[in-house]
Amino acid sequence: MSVAIRRANVDDAEALARIHDDSSVRSGTLQTPYPLISSWRDRCAQTDGQIMLVAVSGEAVIANLGLYPNSKTPRRAHAASLMMGVHAAWKRKGVGSALLVAALDIADNWYGLARVELTVYTDNEAGIGLYKKFGFETEATLRKYALREGAFVDAYAMARLRTRPT
């Protein structure tokens, strides 16, 4: 099935809230149950150089990836963090890869970033495998990073470094 990548707009908020209101998606993110559509609308507004990409199959939004430059910290302006979520039914079908290709093209070739960083729960093998394929390396293990279904979970901090245009 063909999947297209486009920039999110505020009208995607409802679909994104729905994707993230799922226990398997939630267990890979920092989202809580009963997501607010309004907070997804805020994320889709993409201020300060933020980029929110969505993957669509036909009309349906099936995944998202946010790229967050450190616009308020000049000494970290060479770095951005990213986070993503894929609809439960669309996992392991290359959707995450397609989003990462698009986001890293922006990071490398249009934002000129030296460092893209992320956190991923240590038991999220699919996520870790995907990030490694794109050149992310594990830099740290953050103990009890977040609460998930009643228990604290560890996360890896991963980063991908690139030589910037000079």
Binding site: L30, P74, R76, H78, E139, K144, A146, L147, A157, A159
Partner: protein
């Protein structure tokens, strides 16, 4: 030398801006030269402002330390980040120890946090020693974490993990 600790208020913006123009404070933090008192005033007046403690010697602010909570992210509400700085003239006199002890008392006994985290430039040996003494453990190293005087420098990430208070329900 004795230092008095107190909570920062909006009128400390000028003093804080001055602390953060100290070259060694700049080198040890993510601040930039020509710190703007306006920016500090803004930081201090936000409703979700970090708990910012000041170490004072007489009327002068000689150091500051902040506890940055994650109340806006419920799944990380058990975590806070620490950032601190002490001006060159008052370093190695126990100011950092005093500030950190006060912040960790807040974290442990009044905020009931599980995890306190921080990042520290890998070559900042005195700070790493201080954090280690207070139970922070090395969790990893962020490469090219921040620009410092023209170079992208690495940072260690350290954290101190505690069991928070609980009830025993039979």
């Amino acid at each position: 030398m004795s230092y008095k600790l107190r909570r920062a208020v909006v009128t400390d913006a000028e003093g804080l801006a001055e602390v953060f123009t100290d070259p060694s404070v700049l080198a040890g933090t993510l601040q930039i030269p020509y710190a703007s008192p306006l920016l500090w005033r803004e930081r201090l007046s936000k409703p979700d402002a970090p708990v910012l403690l000041l170490a004072c010697h007489g009327d002068n602010i000689v150091g500051s330390a902040g506890l940055h909570t994650n109340m806006g992210t419920p799944r990380r509400a058990h975590v806070a980040a620490v950032g601190m700085g002490v001006i060159t003239a008052h370093q190695r006199k126990g100011v950092g120890r005093q500030l950190l002890a006060a912040l960790l008392d807040l974290a442990d006994n009044w905020y009931g946090l599980t995890r306190v985290e921080l990042s520290v430039f890998t070559d900042n040996a005195p700070a790493i020693a201080l954090y280690t003494k207070f139970g922070f453990e090395h969790e990893g190293t962020y490469r090219a974490y921040a620009l410092r005087n023209g170079e992208l420098a690495d940072c260690h990430t350290m954290a101190r993990v505690r069991d928070r208070p609980t009830v025993r329900v039979s």
